[in-house]
Symmetry: C2
């Protein structure tokens, strides 16, 4: 078993687990992962998982079930999960990363519990104050990454600076771009905009020693328009921006379906143009962006949407493999060293 | 001249003023305002505006030009604009409302300057701490209003409560719904989510004496999904959510055009289904939502996007007329009285 291609899966986490988890891994292996030499550790109840694997032969052939009967409920509080969750499927999936048996873990379970358990088991990287969740968004011809999208409700300037470092290393490793551009999310691009924390973060990020391709303030529209690669914000704003964009995409998808399938004539013309329209449907499919990554820990943890289906889960598995094969963790270490050689003397606000 | 149907227009405000302003009023009169007995006061340079009116006869027939040579630059700081902007087209358009000559003013000019001048001339309503900008968003079969979307970067719990009152009265008057639902924007709907200000606002809003149909916390997705009518948030979060949604809509519009017109075959099938697709195009047209309204002042001021075209400006004029004909200002007074009879004794955070 090659350590660098073993993925640990919390098979019992998510609204529709374990069914969509197993179907998701199978979908991944069938469509994307054909040529990848990968093994999965499926953490969960053997009695439930074994029958599912009979219908998922690609998965069965490259998986081991690590049995546990315990699981974390989707509505458990993080503190409860920490107290009672040891040896649950979620806990064990993280432990595989900690023990070096797997190089990345994927869970569609409770976000707060996953974050708390990840922090406890893997610990923060030296020099990182708090972990962040990074999300990937589509642009015209590219991708944008946004962080934090929910781990930290309130952030100070040092944290925002750390997010910039983490996000930039993430983008560099995953999207193979040498000098990705970094922007700080604000309500305008003029110097005088924003609150005190944002202005202080802007000052820190403008410090050339960080070796960032920092572009200054960006606005909400910039997340989609292709002007910027890495967008830095606090977890409150990022979470609301992400969910607002999701809601907008869903609403437009609804109008779109009405226009394409609302009556017999539109169905016929839609069928006639089905190639282009199927491509469009894929382009605006929010499942393509599933798979938030926890950054700042000594190990890689991927959080899938709790309510996703098997195609969304397959996407999260793809992100896990891409990260596992990338130089992400070492890139982050280099960048963090640079931050703390040059930035620690600054104020914390 | 009937006072209640006179609209004051800052004809020189906006990236493409005064051309799009005059074209916008003309477009409104031609398409939406046929049966409305309305007059316009066009504030701006007579030498520039008169030739434009020769090509806009509907507008010419129901307008008076109020001449001034002064205008506010789009990049002026609010403090500069206040010092030097007296008798500018923007200043005068607000003064018409203050003097009771017009019942509402519309400007596509500099937002900060417009807000500062409006506050100075019209003053806040008794019991309102700070004004808010409210924006209207499409939903499946309805509209949602969101406030604040940019006037207040940081808000306390009392302000958020006032925004709820203002937004609810606005929705009631403009969308003719007796008990619109009100939600507080947060990163989750559970009681334990959010920061201290949001929790304190939640507590205030849950107070039944305010006579609100308050539904508790809502998330970014709820803005579009039709579950809520009025979404309350601070100006930082609201501005970023609004712009992120705009960016998402534009990106999807781009993918959409590619699918519909990318090659000859798709053009033909698109033509064949043009009725449904034109309807869709209209549904997702961001110009339909143009026209942010300043709430909390002794007078109605509408802010159009600075970069909008004539169709967007026409939409802002439509919003102005709908508000002028509504019971909006008196509804707000009734609701504010209720807030301050029941809420003033609470803490300010």
């Amino acid at each position: 078993m090659r350590k660098d291609l073993t993925i640990s899966i919390d098979a019992m986490g998510g609204d529709n687990a374990p069914e969509i988890v197993i179907k998701g891994v199978e979908y991944y292996l069938k469509h994307e992962g054909k040529n990848r030499d990968v093994r999965f550790l499926l953490h969960g109840n053997k009695g439930v998982l074994s029958p599912l694997l009979k219908k998922a032969l690609l998965t069965k052939n490259c998986s081991d079930i690590i049995h546990t009967e315990k699981l974390i409920e989707m509505d458990a509080k993080p503190s409860q999960a920490l107290r009672r969750g040891k040896n649950s499927s979620m806990w064990n999936s993280i432990a595989s990363v900690k023990d070096g048996v797997a190089c990345v873990a994927v869970s569609a379970g409770n976000t707060g519990a996953l974050m708390a358990m990840s922090k406890l088991q893997l610990r923060m990287k030296v020099g990182v104050t708090r972990p962040a969740i990074v999300a990937t968004w589509p642009q015209k011809n590219n991708w944008c990454v946004v962080l934090d999208v929910g781990a930290n409700i309130e952030c100070d300037a040092l944290q925002l600076t750390e997010f910039a470092i983490l996000g930039e290393a993430f983008y560099r490793a995953l999207h193979k771009k040498n000098k990705p551009s970094v922007g700080l999310l604000n309500v305008g691009t003029e110097e005088l905009k924003g609150n005190a924390v944002i202005k202080a973060a802007h000052e820190r990020l403008s410090n050339g020693h960080l070796n960032l391709n920092y572009k200054g303030y960006v606005e909400g529209t910039d997340i989609s328009n292709g002007n910027i690669d890495v967008v830095v914000t606090d977890g409150f704003t990022g979470n609301i921006a992400l969910k607002t964009a999701e809601g907008t995409a869903k609403l437009i998808g609804y109008f779109f379906n009405q226009a394409l399938f609302g009556n017999l004539w539109s169905k016929i013309t839609t069928f006639a143009n089905s190639y282009s329209l199927l491509r469009l449907k894929r382009q605006i499919d929010p499942r393509r962006a599933n798979g938030g990554v926890f950054l700042g820990l000594n190990g890689i943890i991927i959080k899938s949407h709790g309510g996703t289906d098997h195609i969304g889960f397959a996407n999260a598995v793809g992100v896990a493999l891409d990260l596992a094969e990338s130089s992400f963790m070492s890139e982050i270490d280099i960048s963090l060293n640079m931050l703390h050689e040059n930035g620690v003397e600054g104020s914390n606000k």
